[in-house]
Amino acid sequence: MLKSYLAFISFVLLPWCLVAQDFAFGSITPEDNKLVKNDLDSFSNAAVLNEYGKAYMAYNDTRGYTELIVDYHVRIKLFNRDGYRYADIELPTYRDESGGRTDALLEIKAVTINIVDGRIVSIPLDKARIYKENVSKYVTHTKFTFPDLQDGSIIEYSYRLVSPYIFNFKTWQFQDDIPKINSQFEAIIPGMYTYNVTLRGPYKLTTQDAKLDRGAFRIAGRDIDCSHMTYGMQHIPAFVSEDYMTAASNFKSAIYFELSDVYRLNGANLKITKEWRNVDRELATDASFGSQMKRDNVFKSLLPEILKGAADDLGKAKALYRYIQQHIKWNRYLGKYSENGIKEALEERSGNIGDINLALIAGLSAAGLDAEAVILSTRDNGLVNDVHPVLTNFNYVVAKVNIGDSYYLLDATDPLLPFGLLPLHCINGKARVINLKKPSYWIALTSSQKSIVRYTLMAELFPNGMLKGRLLIQSLGYAAHRKRRELAEYTTVEEYMEHRNEQLIGFDMLAGEIDGREDVDVPLTERYEVEMKLYDSLASETVFFNPFFLNRIGKNPFNLDERTYPVDIGAVREDRVVMTIKLPHGYVLKSKPDDSNLTLEDNGGRYVTQTQLVGDTFSFSQLLTLNHTTYPPESYFALKELFGRIIRQEKIDVMLSKTNGK
């Protein structure tokens, strides 16, 4: 969340500048040797003693393009065998679709350093034990591990990465899940390239420096000056991941680069990403983006059939949304760009996120509707930079259709989503709306519907403890979406009920029906005849039963002792239970749970239970609302306490006792 921006320092000459440099390979210091577990924190089983990286550019005459070269070197101490997993190294490299431009890993060097009887023993890595795993057509993992590990082993490795991908230069991760004593990074950038530089995370740089390297980049027979930046951090704590957290990259300390300008040798300035208006123009003409949005001719022959019976604009939009949902299956690939083109996606009935939602936009436009593209970053991809346009931040696209004064955000990649509801993984900060004719603009991504479940039970309790009645369950929004996903696993309602009955012990659904299984735009309504045993102690004068048998929380989702990140639940939640139970003849209500009314501050949420006795009818209602989608870390204990109180309340029974003589 914490973000600060480094001013881009170009061509500042600091004559006294200190020179960061790589540490000597394999020669450990007395400090390296002395460091033991718990020196840095109480839980880490390994630590980075020193880490150095240098990234620079070189023009490759043979290939005819500029390459990024990264020299990386790290030294890690493994305190004990739980730390050995940090000795299993996996270095990913990427290849573009054509296979033409590929990352290359060179000069991998690795060594294990042990202290044996006070002597330093180095065991180098055998080159034959470096494995290349071709994970998929785009990714290769180079993998190796270190020989002869012992408690206290120091492992060290270095490599050179030569990459055609200069757009993000080199992201430098200062923070990792083990602590680091020292991490230094040098970025040497030719004057013809300008990058936006972002420092993310809570920690400050301990070294920050810039100087000019004269003529350090050679291209077309000319020597170009380079700006030479040094960034350093010391004593960086380990990053500890926790539950209910969005992407760790939002919080980890790191430096990010994004190419903004390229100055051509002839003096022309090529803006890469500078202003949104430039981005807008590029996206509008991009063959995999704007051009796909414009392909409304693809829909010409289809439209009459799709729009048949659609009365108004909303009806048309719904019909198109439904059509795309049911005609193109998501191939599990993300992306804001269309991978295969929308025509092909429609024909093959398969596509990535870009294919499907850009097809939807083209279809909506073809139907004469006002449709725009919304590019966003999914929850596990982190938040987007809202100062500079950083296109690589965005990994997803959805449609926005404007009808009258309202708009609807649509993701057609999941056939079970109702019209206007984005999947939870899309609800992540801000998104940028790309309009082919107007300037782009930000919108906030919020879930348009709550997650609502309502249980209504009308039942009669018999003296033997058997409860019989009718149960109605209504689910809306994300709750309905979850339930529909579950139902999709079964061909018939009977099979679903049979499965549920097997799992719910002592609770039998005898007959039932479900509405809204197919029509995802209406609430999902389940109606069941139910029967359950509430208590079994017949003999005694008093019986206890627990009224919290519907939608019981049971378990506290918040169980940590400390929390440093927000709790992010994605959508506002509302759970409601209402039951009326006719009490058995010959029994009276002796005691019942006190009414409760708990609230979170700032209208963050509520838990309310109420019981009432009218004649021989016992009525009970329960409401849980969580009104915010995100709670700051300070609210963590209030949330934990709220759920703790709910669990306590759920333990309280109703007590009935036999009436005398009746």
Partner: protein
């Protein structure tokens, strides 16, 4: 032949081009019985394994699957694993809608090609190609045809037509073809009748086929699928595998081959290690003590790293390499331990085992190299056979946990292979015994001390917690003792060095708000730490009930109540005696003390299917009693 080939091709071209030709895949044609409770139906399946030579086995599959819902989608995905000894010759397929009209087709290039390195490995040379048809409407049918060439005949793909639950089978056929003179061993299980045997121009063909198998449901506590699913295993006597040639007809011959071809040449250690080993055991009197010392040496020096390439899937890394690298996989580490023991003249057996918490035997009467997924070491001391798990730095000497206990394994020795059985711990030995003294505070908090002893299989379950450090340990404890607002302090573990290893865990605990009060009543679930979960209640249990591992739990909790607190819900005692085990629990109050005692013994074994109802009644009754509240009044 050529002419027929042409006609078939023409027909395919027309069929795909027209896009409207109807096939035999209309949903309406599926027998009703096969649709009931099925997520998918195998419409037809024809598998032909043609062993043309030991290094050339053609594997040809043609199948069609109808998918009814999302749950059946996994069955529609075709996944083909391959490696250096498997060549994919061709893959193609077509997709049909509910009425049997073709809606699409796909070829080799539509498949995604990915590495298939297991999560436990650093590297393997195994890869896979997979494809899932892009269909959003159910039901639909997908038809596949593919052909593989296996460059080995040590492992012939098994036929398992009904291996998947919730999938019914309209028809499946498996044919094995070889030269008339080829010696092959065959074992079929749960297959009624004999295969059809044919003579095809001097070659022999054996065919098994099944039709109209209704979908079987996945049932909890079910036995090894090998005992109820149909399968046919084929094992040629003369085989070639990655340039290794051999022959076997039984476990003895297979074990001898493994020893000779894969183990014998990899047991040499460098001189320095030999000297070190001799020194280490110099002052140890017995072989067992020597072995214990060397096992500690192994655990200190090595760790588990899995790399599987080619013959390396079966052949261990040489002991000298493990010695130099300080790591290896199960084979490499067992082989290394064997080499260490050889130095001091202690004999040991390299044993192949099917590891996993479910106990699985090697097929006693059918030797096959495809059986087993792990290797352990057996030390045949007289009357004191000792077993070593060599991949763990934590396991005590001589202890096999629930990963490899109580099952037959193949010992590969110079004298030949033999089936041995790993030790079984008695139900009562798999013990968890807990003593807790807790004080109930006025605000509903429980505070006190808990001491728990874990033995044998239960030791295994908790060793990881004992060995982990601060935050990890706390998180693991919270997973194990999953109670709201639980707090742990003064956590300590002590290991017992007996024949059956034990672990004693102690901690101080706080449970804020555990026993809430309402209307002068306090609600306390006396079984704080060990509540049994429910199991499904099934109407038509088909399979026998199989309980893999028995155990004994004892919980004894003494609560000190606030002054004037009395138990209004009454003391109680419940005893259940069932064929599956015993349960006994009591709650009683004496003065200001409330005592809870629970004893639960689960028997292991196999029980008839019709006893499942009794089993689920037993377990679910235990669940109810475990959650019973003591109501106190203040």
């Amino acid at each position: 032949m050529r002419i027929i080939g042409c006609i078939v091709m023409m027909a395919t071209v027309i069929a795909t081009y027209g896009n409207q030709a109807q096939s035999d895949y209309a949903i309406a044609d599926i027998p009703t019985a096969l649709k009931a409770r099925a997520d998918a139906v195998v419409r037809h399946e024809t598998i032909v394994v043609d062993m043309q030579a030991p290094t050339k086995v053609n594997y040809h599959v043609k199948q069609a699957i109808t998918v009814f819902n999302k749950g059946g989608e996994g069955k529609a995905r075709l996944v083909i694993h391959y490696d250096k000894s498997t060549v994919i010759k061709r893959i193609a397929g077509r997709v049909f809608d509910a009425n049997g009209f073709q809606t699409g087709k796909f070829t080799h290039r539509d498949f995604m090609d990915e590495s298939a390195v297991s999560s436990f490995s650093l590297y393997e040379d195994s890869r896979m190609k997979h494809f899932l048809p892009a269909v959003t409407h159910y039901p639909y049918t997908v038809e596949y045809e593919y052909e593989l060439e296996l460059k080995q005949n040590l492992i012939i793909p098994i036929w398992r037509p009904d291996a998947y639950p919730d999938v019914s089978v309209e028809h499946s056929r498996y044919t094995f073809l070889c030269e008339a003179a080829d010696k092959v061993r065959i074992k079929a299980m749960n297959y009624g009748g004999e295969p059809i045997s044919e003579d095809l121009d001097g070659r022999k063909a054996l065919t098994w086929e099944v039709s109209n198998l209704v979908a079987r449901r996945q049932e909890p506590y079910s036995p090894n699928p090998d005992t109820y699913c149909i399968w046919v295993r084929v094992a040629p006597v003369d085989f070639v595998y990655y340039k290794h040639r051999g022959q076997y007809a039984d476990w003895s011959e297979l074990g001898r081959w493994v020893h000779k071809a894969l183990l014998a040449d990899g047991l040499t250690l460098p001189e320095s290690t030999i000297q070190e080993v001799r020194q280490l055991v110099a002052d140890k009197a017995s072989d067992k003590e020597k072995a214990r010392t060397l096992y500690a040496y192994l655990q200190r020096k090595t760790r588990y790293v899995s790399v599987q390439i080619g013959i390396g899937g079966f052949k261990p890394t040489a002991a000298s390499e493990v010695d130099r690298l300080g790591y290896g996989d199960c084979k490499g580490l067992v082989n290394y331990m064997q080499a260490l023991l050889n130095v001091v003249g202690i004999s040991s057996y390299y044993c192949v085992v099917e590891a996993g918490s479910a106990k699985r035997d090697m097929q006693p009467d059918f030797a096959g190299m495809e059986q087993g997924n792990h290797v352990i070491l057996c030390l045949p001391f007289e009357n004191d056979t000792t077993w070593l798990e060599c991949t763990s730095q934590r396991t005590p000497f001589g202890f096999l946990g629930s990963f490899t206990d109580d099952r037959t394994v193949l010992a590969c020795t110079q004298q030949g292979g033999k089936l041995l059985r790993t030790p079984r711990y008695a139900e009562e030995a798999n013990l968890q015994r807990r003593q807790a003294t807790l004080t109930l505070k006025d605000d509903g908090m429980l505070i006190g001390t808990v001491t728990t002893e874990f033995a044998a299989a239960q030791y295994d379950n908790h060793l990881e917690i004992a060995e982990s450090s601060n935050i990890e340990q706390m998180n693991l404890l919270k997973d194990t003792y999953d109670i709201d607002h639980i707090g742990f302090h003064n956590i300590a573990y002590r290991k017992g060095e007996l024949d059956i290893p034990t672990l004693t865990e102690t901690f101080d605990v706080t449970l804020a708000g555990y026993a809430p009060a309402n209307n002068e009543q306090v609600f306390l679930i006396a079984n704080v730490f060990n509540r049994r979960n429910t199991i499904p209640v099934l109407k038509n249990r088909m399979l026998p009930v199989y309980i893999n591992r028995g155990y004994l739990d004892e919980d004894h909790i003494v609560f000190t109540l606030p002054g004037g607190c009395t138990l209004v819900s009454g003391s109680w005692e419940e005893t259940i005696d069932s064929p599956f085990g015993q349960y006994h629990a009591t709650v009683e109050q004496t003065g200001n003390q409330l005592t809870y005692h629970r004893k639960f013994l689960l028997h292991e074994g196999t029980f008839p299917a019709d006893q499942y109802a009794e089993f689920s009644t037993f377990i679910n009754r235990v669940y109810t009693l475990d959650n019973r509240k003591a109501v106190l009044s203040r």
